[in-house]
């Protein structure tokens, strides 16, 4: 079980801020593929990966990062702090 979090317009498009997901995916990309098969709103949120960032256990990561032992994955657009 992995906690999957969504922020900003990713959260709005998917319609929820977080969910617990049972997944057999071994990488972030695999997880995204699974999510996209679920419902069109996921496919819409993940349509353009270049517009997304991912954090694995609260560290910015690449989309091919492994999921083994991971507790939390977060998807969001590029950050706009400051």
């Amino acid at each position: 079980m992995i906690d999957v979090l969504y922020f900003a317009w990713v959260r709005e498009r998917i319609g929820l801020p977080r969910e617990r997901i049972e997944t057999s995916a071994t990488t972030v990309s695999g997880l995204i593929d699974e999510l996209c098969l679920r419902e069109p709103r996921y496919a819409a949120a993940f349509a353009d990966l270049a517009a997304l960032r991912v954090a694995v256990d609260q560290e910015l990561s690449a989309f091919d990062a492994p999921l083994q032992g991971v507790r939390e994955v977060a998807f969001f657009p590029p950050m706009t702090g400051g």
Partner: protein, 146 residues
């Protein structure tokens, strides 16, 4: 080194005064404050989302990096989340060092990283709708100088 992520407004003057007074031995203190612009009257408010847990860690790690790269005597980062009105302070950073070049460089470094690497997302609430602020290429490119 103090990192604060908070919904409450803060008094940048009081923060600067306290930071400066505590930075004993410092010869140079630089502060930066980011304020909510009215965007030519279109903006009614700014909504800032963040990632509890990761945001605090990212800020602490950026500040720690600044402190060690420029031998800062101290560093301060305050960043608000939630709903902010035009003219309010969104965030501030302050740096203290012996000589001015270090305090300036470290403050610019902190700002560049905070803009593009700290998990905050701004949404502009406008008279005719709402828009997520897009990250700027210039902000991403600013990181390359460090």
């Amino acid at each position: 080194m103090r990192i604060a992520v908070q919904a409450a407004p803060f008094d940048q003057g009081a923060e600067l005064q306290a930071f400066s007074a505590a930075a004993s031995g410092a010869g140079a203190v630089v502060s930066f404050s980011g304020l909510v612009r009215d965007e030519a009257g279109r903006l009614s408010a700014l909504e800032i989302e963040y990632y509890p847990g990761m945001t605090e860690k990212a800020l602490a790690s950026i500040a720690q990096e600044a402190v060690s790269r420029w031998s800062l005597l101290d560093a301060l980062v305050i960043h608000r989340h939630g709903r902010l009105l035009v003219g309010e302070a969104i965030m501030m950073v302050a740096t203290a060092s012996t000589h001015r070049a270090d305090a300036f460089s470290a403050a610019e470094f902190l700002m560049d990283y905070l803009k593009s690497r700290a998990p905050f997302w701004k949404k502009e609430l406008l008279a005719d709708g709402a828009d997520w602020v897009r990250a700027k290429d210039t902000d991403e490119n600013a990181l390359k100088r460090w």
